[in-house]
Symmetry: C2
Subunit: 226 residues, 2 copies
Protein backbone atom coordinates (compact mmCIF):
# COMPACT_ATOMS: atom_id res chain seq x y z
CA UNK A 1 0.00 0.00 0.00
CA UNK A 2 1.34 3.39 -0.97
CA UNK A 3 1.72 6.11 1.65
CA UNK A 4 -0.62 9.07 1.05
CA UNK A 5 1.74 11.78 2.23
CA UNK A 6 -0.11 14.50 0.31
CA UNK A 7 -2.90 14.42 2.88
CA UNK A 8 -0.38 15.10 5.65
CA UNK A 9 -1.10 18.74 6.56
CA UNK A 10 2.52 19.78 6.94
CA UNK A 11 3.58 18.11 3.71
CA UNK A 12 0.65 19.60 1.82
CA UNK A 13 1.38 23.11 3.08
CA UNK A 14 5.00 22.80 1.97
CA UNK A 15 4.09 21.22 -1.35
CA UNK A 16 1.61 23.99 -2.13
CA UNK A 17 4.45 26.51 -1.97
CA UNK A 18 6.79 24.75 -4.43
CA UNK A 19 7.37 26.61 -7.63
CA UNK A 20 5.71 23.84 -9.65
CA UNK A 21 2.63 24.14 -7.41
CA UNK A 22 2.39 27.92 -7.70
CA UNK A 23 3.40 28.37 -11.34
CA UNK A 24 2.24 25.02 -12.68
CA UNK A 25 3.90 23.41 -15.68
CA UNK A 26 6.02 26.49 -16.40
CA UNK A 27 7.45 26.17 -12.91
CA UNK A 28 8.70 22.64 -13.60
CA UNK A 29 12.15 22.66 -15.21
CA UNK A 30 11.62 19.29 -16.89
CA UNK A 31 8.31 20.30 -18.51
CA UNK A 32 9.72 21.44 -21.88
CA UNK A 33 11.38 18.04 -22.34
CA UNK A 34 8.34 16.11 -21.15
CA UNK A 35 6.09 18.21 -23.41
CA UNK A 36 8.30 17.36 -26.39
CA UNK A 37 7.63 13.67 -25.73
CA UNK A 38 3.83 14.07 -25.81
CA UNK A 39 1.72 13.37 -28.86
CA UNK A 40 -0.59 16.07 -30.20
CA UNK A 41 -3.43 15.97 -27.66
CA UNK A 42 -6.09 17.53 -29.90
CA UNK A 43 -9.30 15.45 -29.75
CA UNK A 44 -7.57 12.91 -27.51
CA UNK A 45 -9.08 11.27 -24.43
CA UNK A 46 -6.56 11.82 -21.67
CA UNK A 47 -6.06 10.34 -18.20
CA UNK A 48 -3.64 11.94 -15.73
CA UNK A 49 -2.35 9.55 -13.05
CA UNK A 50 -1.56 11.59 -9.97
CA UNK A 51 -3.04 14.84 -11.24
CA UNK A 52 -2.34 16.91 -8.13
CA UNK A 53 -3.69 20.43 -8.53
CA UNK A 54 -4.76 19.65 -12.10
CA UNK A 55 -2.28 21.84 -13.97
CA UNK A 56 -1.75 19.25 -16.69
CA UNK A 57 -5.47 18.47 -16.97
CA UNK A 58 -6.21 22.12 -17.67
CA UNK A 59 -3.25 22.42 -20.06
CA UNK A 60 -4.45 19.37 -22.02
CA UNK A 61 -7.91 20.84 -22.44
CA UNK A 62 -6.48 24.18 -23.53
CA UNK A 63 -4.38 22.23 -26.04
CA UNK A 64 -7.53 20.64 -27.47
CA UNK A 65 -8.02 17.35 -25.65
CA UNK A 66 -11.57 16.00 -25.97
CA UNK A 67 -11.74 14.99 -22.31
CA UNK A 68 -9.46 14.67 -19.33
CA UNK A 69 -9.78 12.42 -16.31
CA UNK A 70 -7.58 13.38 -13.39
CA UNK A 71 -6.88 10.74 -10.74
CA UNK A 72 -5.27 11.33 -7.39
CA UNK A 73 -5.23 9.61 -4.03
CA UNK A 74 -5.17 12.90 -2.15
CA UNK A 75 -8.45 14.51 -1.16
CA UNK A 76 -6.57 17.75 -0.47
CA UNK A 77 -5.18 17.88 -3.97
CA UNK A 78 -8.50 17.09 -5.62
CA UNK A 79 -10.38 19.74 -3.64
CA UNK A 80 -7.94 22.34 -4.92
CA UNK A 81 -8.03 20.93 -8.46
CA UNK A 82 -11.83 21.08 -8.59
CA UNK A 83 -11.81 24.69 -7.42
CA UNK A 84 -9.67 25.75 -10.37
CA UNK A 85 -11.96 24.74 -13.20
CA UNK A 86 -15.58 24.64 -14.27
CA UNK A 87 -14.77 22.77 -17.48
CA UNK A 88 -17.28 19.91 -17.81
CA UNK A 89 -14.80 17.92 -19.92
CA UNK A 90 -12.41 17.65 -16.95
CA UNK A 91 -13.33 15.06 -14.34
CA UNK A 92 -11.51 14.39 -11.10
CA UNK A 93 -11.67 11.07 -9.29
CA UNK A 94 -10.11 10.07 -6.02
CA UNK A 95 -8.35 6.77 -6.69
CA UNK A 96 -5.57 4.57 -5.38
CA UNK A 97 -3.34 4.03 -8.40
CA UNK A 98 -2.30 0.58 -7.15
CA UNK A 99 -5.82 -0.78 -7.36
CA UNK A 100 -7.61 1.53 -9.80
CA UNK A 101 -9.62 -0.08 -12.56
CA UNK A 102 -10.27 2.00 -15.65
CA UNK A 103 -12.66 1.33 -18.53
CA UNK A 104 -10.98 -0.74 -21.25
CA UNK A 105 -9.51 0.91 -24.37
CA UNK A 106 -11.01 4.26 -23.36
CA UNK A 107 -8.03 6.63 -23.49
CA UNK A 108 -5.57 7.80 -26.13
CA UNK A 109 -3.01 9.25 -23.75
CA UNK A 110 -2.06 8.33 -20.20
CA UNK A 111 0.15 10.88 -18.47
CA UNK A 112 1.82 10.86 -15.08
CA UNK A 113 4.10 13.43 -13.50
CA UNK A 114 6.32 12.58 -10.51
CA UNK A 115 3.90 10.08 -9.02
CA UNK A 116 5.10 6.59 -9.94
CA UNK A 117 8.07 6.55 -7.54
CA UNK A 118 5.56 6.47 -4.66
CA UNK A 119 3.83 3.30 -5.84
CA UNK A 120 4.63 -0.07 -4.31
CA UNK A 121 2.79 -2.13 -6.94
CA UNK A 122 3.80 -0.39 -10.14
CA UNK A 123 3.23 -3.53 -12.22
CA UNK A 124 -0.47 -3.39 -11.33
CA UNK A 125 -0.76 0.20 -12.53
CA UNK A 126 1.16 -0.45 -15.76
CA UNK A 127 -1.22 -3.33 -16.49
CA UNK A 128 -4.25 -1.15 -15.78
CA UNK A 129 -2.91 1.64 -18.01
CA UNK A 130 -2.22 -0.79 -20.85
CA UNK A 131 -5.78 -2.11 -20.69
CA UNK A 132 -7.20 1.41 -20.45
CA UNK A 133 -5.43 2.69 -23.55
CA UNK A 134 -6.82 2.25 -27.03
CA UNK A 135 -4.52 0.44 -29.51
CA UNK A 136 -1.74 2.82 -30.49
CA UNK A 137 -2.36 4.87 -27.37
CA UNK A 138 0.53 6.59 -25.65
CA UNK A 139 1.86 6.55 -22.11
CA UNK A 140 4.14 9.44 -21.15
CA UNK A 141 5.45 9.80 -17.62
CA UNK A 142 8.05 11.36 -15.40
CA UNK A 143 9.38 9.92 -12.16
CA UNK A 144 12.13 10.80 -9.79
CA UNK A 145 15.32 9.47 -11.38
CA UNK A 146 16.70 6.34 -9.67
CA UNK A 147 20.00 8.14 -9.10
CA UNK A 148 18.09 10.84 -7.22
CA UNK A 149 16.08 8.40 -5.09
CA UNK A 150 19.21 6.32 -4.46
CA UNK A 151 22.44 8.20 -5.22
CA UNK A 152 24.54 5.98 -3.00
CA UNK A 153 26.21 2.62 -3.28
CA UNK A 154 22.92 0.69 -3.07
CA UNK A 155 21.61 1.63 -6.50
CA UNK A 156 20.84 -1.98 -7.44
CA UNK A 157 18.79 -2.66 -4.31
CA UNK A 158 15.21 -1.83 -5.23
CA UNK A 159 12.76 -1.06 -2.45
CA UNK A 160 11.53 1.68 -0.14
CA UNK A 161 13.62 4.73 0.74
CA UNK A 162 12.57 7.03 3.54
CA UNK A 163 13.45 10.71 3.31
CA UNK A 164 12.58 13.91 5.12
CA UNK A 165 11.25 16.14 2.34
CA UNK A 166 8.56 18.63 3.34
CA UNK A 167 7.66 16.18 6.13
CA UNK A 168 9.47 13.53 8.10
CA UNK A 169 9.30 9.94 6.91
CA UNK A 170 8.25 10.35 3.29
CA UNK A 171 8.49 6.92 1.67
CA UNK A 172 9.53 6.58 -1.97
CA UNK A 173 10.05 3.36 -3.89
CA UNK A 174 13.47 3.03 -5.49
CA UNK A 175 13.60 1.16 -8.79
CA UNK A 176 16.52 0.94 -11.18
CA UNK A 177 16.09 2.45 -14.62
CA UNK A 178 16.06 -1.09 -16.03
CA UNK A 179 13.40 -1.93 -13.45
CA UNK A 180 11.06 0.77 -14.77
CA UNK A 181 11.63 -0.22 -18.38
CA UNK A 182 11.20 -3.96 -17.88
CA UNK A 183 7.93 -3.41 -16.01
CA UNK A 184 6.71 -1.35 -18.97
CA UNK A 185 7.84 -3.94 -21.51
CA UNK A 186 6.35 -6.78 -19.47
CA UNK A 187 3.03 -4.92 -19.42
CA UNK A 188 3.08 -4.89 -23.22
CA UNK A 189 4.36 -1.38 -23.95
CA UNK A 190 6.89 -0.46 -26.63
CA UNK A 191 9.39 2.06 -25.29
CA UNK A 192 9.71 5.01 -27.67
CA UNK A 193 11.95 7.46 -25.82
CA UNK A 194 13.84 7.65 -22.55
CA UNK A 195 15.26 10.86 -21.13
CA UNK A 196 17.38 11.31 -18.04
CA UNK A 197 16.74 14.94 -17.23
CA UNK A 198 19.17 17.06 -15.29
CA UNK A 199 20.00 20.74 -15.30
CA UNK A 200 22.28 22.01 -18.02
CA UNK A 201 25.59 23.64 -17.10
CA UNK A 202 24.04 27.01 -18.01
CA UNK A 203 21.08 26.39 -15.71
CA UNK A 204 23.36 25.44 -12.84
CA UNK A 205 25.41 28.60 -13.38
CA UNK A 206 22.27 30.75 -13.55
CA UNK A 207 20.80 29.33 -10.33
CA UNK A 208 23.42 29.40 -7.58
CA UNK A 209 20.56 28.97 -5.10
CA UNK A 210 20.12 25.39 -6.38
CA UNK A 211 23.47 24.63 -4.68
CA UNK A 212 24.23 21.77 -7.05
CA UNK A 213 27.48 21.16 -8.80
CA UNK A 214 26.69 17.98 -10.67
CA UNK A 215 25.18 16.79 -13.90
CA UNK A 216 23.46 13.79 -12.41
CA UNK A 217 19.87 13.37 -13.56
CA UNK A 218 16.97 14.26 -11.29
CA UNK A 219 14.06 13.06 -13.42
CA UNK A 220 13.38 10.02 -15.57
CA UNK A 221 11.06 10.73 -18.52
CA UNK A 222 9.62 7.93 -20.64
CA UNK A 223 7.37 7.77 -23.68
CA UNK A 224 5.82 4.43 -24.61
CA UNK A 225 3.17 3.10 -26.99
CA UNK A 226 0.50 0.51 -26.31
CA UNK B 1 37.57 7.00 -35.16
CA UNK B 2 37.74 4.46 -32.37
CA UNK B 3 41.05 3.76 -30.65
CA UNK B 4 42.32 0.20 -31.31
CA UNK B 5 43.87 -0.36 -27.89
CA UNK B 6 43.77 -4.14 -28.27
CA UNK B 7 46.71 -3.99 -30.68
CA UNK B 8 48.77 -2.17 -28.04
CA UNK B 9 51.24 -4.87 -26.90
CA UNK B 10 51.07 -4.01 -23.21
CA UNK B 11 47.28 -3.81 -23.18
CA UNK B 12 46.96 -7.08 -25.09
CA UNK B 13 49.33 -8.89 -22.74
CA UNK B 14 47.31 -7.73 -19.77
CA UNK B 15 43.98 -8.46 -21.40
CA UNK B 16 45.05 -12.00 -22.29
CA UNK B 17 45.49 -12.71 -18.57
CA UNK B 18 42.03 -11.55 -17.45
CA UNK B 19 39.84 -14.32 -16.14
CA UNK B 20 37.35 -13.80 -18.98
CA UNK B 21 40.21 -14.23 -21.48
CA UNK B 22 41.57 -17.39 -19.89
CA UNK B 23 38.31 -19.08 -18.88
CA UNK B 24 36.07 -17.59 -21.57
CA UNK B 25 32.36 -17.12 -20.99
CA UNK B 26 32.43 -18.98 -17.67
CA UNK B 27 35.00 -16.46 -16.44
CA UNK B 28 32.64 -13.55 -17.09
CA UNK B 29 30.35 -12.93 -14.10
CA UNK B 30 27.64 -11.33 -16.25
CA UNK B 31 27.48 -14.25 -18.71
CA UNK B 32 24.61 -16.16 -17.02
CA UNK B 33 22.41 -13.07 -17.23
CA UNK B 34 23.45 -12.24 -20.78
CA UNK B 35 22.90 -15.86 -21.82
CA UNK B 36 19.36 -15.75 -20.38
CA UNK B 37 18.62 -12.84 -22.73
CA UNK B 38 19.69 -14.73 -25.87
CA UNK B 39 17.25 -16.53 -28.15
CA UNK B 40 17.79 -20.22 -28.91
CA UNK B 41 20.70 -20.09 -31.37
CA UNK B 42 20.04 -23.45 -33.02
CA UNK B 43 20.14 -23.08 -36.83
CA UNK B 44 20.64 -19.33 -36.46
CA UNK B 45 23.05 -17.18 -38.46
CA UNK B 46 25.05 -15.26 -35.90
CA UNK B 47 27.36 -12.24 -36.06
CA UNK B 48 29.58 -11.31 -33.10
CA UNK B 49 30.60 -7.63 -33.03
CA UNK B 50 33.94 -7.41 -31.26
CA UNK B 51 34.53 -11.15 -31.04
CA UNK B 52 37.92 -10.99 -29.33
CA UNK B 53 39.34 -14.46 -28.82
CA UNK B 54 36.17 -16.01 -30.27
CA UNK B 55 34.81 -17.57 -27.09
CA UNK B 56 31.21 -16.67 -27.97
CA UNK B 57 31.59 -17.72 -31.61
CA UNK B 58 32.67 -21.19 -30.52
CA UNK B 59 29.93 -21.36 -27.87
CA UNK B 60 27.28 -20.42 -30.45
CA UNK B 61 28.40 -23.20 -32.79
CA UNK B 62 28.43 -25.71 -29.95
CA UNK B 63 24.89 -24.56 -29.14
CA UNK B 64 23.80 -25.29 -32.70
CA UNK B 65 24.19 -22.07 -34.67
CA UNK B 66 24.26 -22.61 -38.43
CA UNK B 67 27.11 -20.15 -38.95
CA UNK B 68 29.00 -17.53 -37.01
CA UNK B 69 30.82 -14.47 -38.28
CA UNK B 70 33.21 -12.92 -35.77
CA UNK B 71 34.27 -9.30 -36.36
CA UNK B 72 37.05 -7.50 -34.55
CA UNK B 73 39.26 -4.53 -35.26
CA UNK B 74 42.24 -6.15 -33.55
CA UNK B 75 44.61 -8.28 -35.62
CA UNK B 76 46.05 -9.69 -32.39
CA UNK B 77 42.67 -10.89 -31.21
CA UNK B 78 41.76 -12.44 -34.57
CA UNK B 79 45.04 -14.31 -34.87
CA UNK B 80 44.37 -15.94 -31.52
CA UNK B 81 40.70 -16.58 -32.39
CA UNK B 82 41.62 -18.33 -35.65
CA UNK B 83 44.12 -20.56 -33.85
CA UNK B 84 41.41 -21.92 -31.56
CA UNK B 85 39.09 -23.43 -34.16
CA UNK B 86 39.06 -25.36 -37.41
CA UNK B 87 35.27 -25.11 -37.70
CA UNK B 88 34.46 -24.08 -41.30
CA UNK B 89 31.18 -22.50 -40.15
CA UNK B 90 33.05 -19.91 -38.08
CA UNK B 91 34.54 -17.03 -40.06
CA UNK B 92 36.62 -14.20 -38.66
CA UNK B 93 36.90 -10.81 -40.35
CA UNK B 94 38.97 -7.84 -39.36
CA UNK B 95 36.58 -4.88 -39.43
CA UNK B 96 36.13 -1.40 -38.02
CA UNK B 97 32.69 -1.51 -36.41
CA UNK B 98 32.12 2.19 -37.11
CA UNK B 99 32.27 1.70 -40.87
CA UNK B 100 31.53 -2.01 -41.40
CA UNK B 101 28.97 -2.89 -44.04
CA UNK B 102 27.28 -6.24 -43.67
CA UNK B 103 25.10 -8.08 -46.19
CA UNK B 104 21.44 -7.11 -45.80
CA UNK B 105 19.01 -9.29 -43.82
CA UNK B 106 21.63 -12.01 -43.49
CA UNK B 107 21.73 -12.70 -39.75
CA UNK B 108 19.25 -13.88 -37.12
CA UNK B 109 21.28 -12.81 -34.11
CA UNK B 110 23.77 -10.00 -33.60
CA UNK B 111 25.77 -10.25 -30.38
CA UNK B 112 28.31 -7.93 -28.83
CA UNK B 113 30.15 -8.22 -25.54
CA UNK B 114 31.86 -5.23 -23.90
CA UNK B 115 32.76 -3.54 -27.18
CA UNK B 116 30.23 -0.79 -27.83
CA UNK B 117 31.57 1.60 -25.18
CA UNK B 118 34.69 2.02 -27.31
CA UNK B 119 32.80 3.21 -30.40
CA UNK B 120 32.56 6.89 -31.25
CA UNK B 121 29.90 6.47 -33.95
CA UNK B 122 27.53 4.00 -32.33
CA UNK B 123 24.58 5.20 -34.42
CA UNK B 124 26.35 4.01 -37.57
CA UNK B 125 26.86 0.53 -36.12
CA UNK B 126 23.27 0.26 -34.86
CA UNK B 127 22.05 1.18 -38.35
CA UNK B 128 24.34 -1.41 -39.95
CA UNK B 129 23.18 -4.09 -37.48
CA UNK B 130 19.53 -3.29 -38.15
CA UNK B 131 20.04 -3.65 -41.89
CA UNK B 132 22.06 -6.85 -41.44
CA UNK B 133 19.39 -8.60 -39.36
CA UNK B 134 16.52 -10.50 -40.90
CA UNK B 135 13.03 -9.35 -39.85
CA UNK B 136 12.43 -10.53 -36.30
CA UNK B 137 16.17 -10.88 -35.76
CA UNK B 138 17.62 -10.23 -32.33
CA UNK B 139 20.37 -7.95 -31.07
CA UNK B 140 21.81 -8.77 -27.65
CA UNK B 141 24.72 -6.84 -26.23
CA UNK B 142 26.63 -5.92 -23.14
CA UNK B 143 28.56 -2.69 -22.57
CA UNK B 144 30.28 -1.11 -19.65
CA UNK B 145 27.52 0.46 -17.55
CA UNK B 146 27.39 4.27 -17.79
CA UNK B 147 27.79 4.50 -14.01
CA UNK B 148 31.02 2.52 -14.33
CA UNK B 149 32.41 4.63 -17.17
CA UNK B 150 31.31 7.82 -15.42
CA UNK B 151 30.59 7.32 -11.70
CA UNK B 152 31.10 10.98 -10.88
CA UNK B 153 29.03 14.11 -11.05
CA UNK B 154 29.28 14.38 -14.85
CA UNK B 155 26.98 11.46 -15.66
CA UNK B 156 24.89 13.50 -18.09
CA UNK B 157 27.89 14.71 -20.11
CA UNK B 158 28.34 12.15 -22.86
CA UNK B 159 31.72 11.87 -24.56
CA UNK B 160 35.17 10.34 -24.24
CA UNK B 161 36.66 9.26 -20.92
CA UNK B 162 40.33 8.38 -20.65
CA UNK B 163 41.38 5.78 -18.12
CA UNK B 164 44.49 3.82 -17.28
CA UNK B 165 43.30 0.20 -17.46
CA UNK B 166 45.89 -2.36 -18.58
CA UNK B 167 47.57 0.51 -20.45
CA UNK B 168 47.76 4.26 -20.10
CA UNK B 169 45.30 6.41 -22.02
CA UNK B 170 42.56 3.93 -22.84
CA UNK B 171 39.68 5.90 -24.34
CA UNK B 172 36.08 4.85 -23.70
CA UNK B 173 32.96 6.65 -24.85
CA UNK B 174 30.52 7.54 -22.08
CA UNK B 175 26.84 7.47 -22.95
CA UNK B 176 23.91 7.67 -20.59
CA UNK B 177 21.62 4.69 -20.34
CA UNK B 178 18.96 6.73 -22.13
CA UNK B 179 21.56 7.54 -24.78
CA UNK B 180 22.11 3.85 -25.58
CA UNK B 181 18.38 3.12 -25.65
CA UNK B 182 17.41 6.09 -27.81
CA UNK B 183 20.11 5.23 -30.37
CA UNK B 184 18.66 1.71 -30.54
CA UNK B 185 15.09 2.95 -30.87
CA UNK B 186 16.10 5.52 -33.48
CA UNK B 187 17.77 2.74 -35.49
CA UNK B 188 14.42 0.92 -35.55
CA UNK B 189 14.89 -1.63 -32.77
CA UNK B 190 12.27 -2.60 -30.20
CA UNK B 191 13.82 -2.89 -26.75
CA UNK B 192 12.86 -6.19 -25.12
CA UNK B 193 14.90 -6.30 -21.93
CA UNK B 194 17.36 -4.09 -20.08
CA UNK B 195 19.57 -5.33 -17.25
CA UNK B 196 21.90 -3.32 -15.07
CA UNK B 197 24.26 -6.02 -13.86
CA UNK B 198 26.21 -5.74 -10.66
CA UNK B 199 27.49 -8.26 -8.15
CA UNK B 200 25.04 -9.63 -5.62
CA UNK B 201 25.66 -9.11 -1.92
CA UNK B 202 26.64 -12.79 -1.69
CA UNK B 203 29.16 -12.42 -4.49
CA UNK B 204 30.69 -9.38 -2.84
CA UNK B 205 30.96 -11.26 0.45
CA UNK B 206 32.50 -14.29 -1.27
CA UNK B 207 35.11 -12.24 -3.14
CA UNK B 208 36.88 -9.90 -0.72
CA UNK B 209 39.62 -9.55 -3.34
CA UNK B 210 37.16 -7.55 -5.49
CA UNK B 211 37.50 -4.79 -2.89
CA UNK B 212 34.06 -3.38 -3.67
CA UNK B 213 31.42 -2.41 -1.18
CA UNK B 214 28.72 -1.16 -3.48
CA UNK B 215 25.79 -2.42 -5.48
CA UNK B 216 26.31 -0.07 -8.37
CA UNK B 217 26.05 -1.76 -11.76
CA UNK B 218 29.14 -2.55 -13.79
CA UNK B 219 27.52 -3.82 -17.00
CA UNK B 220 24.57 -2.78 -19.12
CA UNK B 221 22.88 -5.70 -20.90
CA UNK B 222 20.25 -5.13 -23.57
CA UNK B 223 18.10 -7.37 -25.73
CA UNK B 224 16.29 -5.86 -28.72
CA UNK B 225 14.35 -7.05 -31.75
CA UNK B 226 14.58 -5.83 -35.33
Amino acid sequence: VTQNIYDNAGFFAGYAQLRRSVDGLDGAPEWPTLKSMLPDVRSKRVVDLGCGFGWFCRWAREAGAASVLGLDVSANMLTRARETTADPAITYWQADLETVELPAASFDLAYSSLTLHYLVNLAALFGAVHRALAPGGRFVFSAEHPLYTEPGPDYLDEGPRTTDWLAKGVVKQHRTLAGYLNLLIDAGFAVRRVEEWGPTRDEIAAHPEWKIDHRRPSFLLVSATR
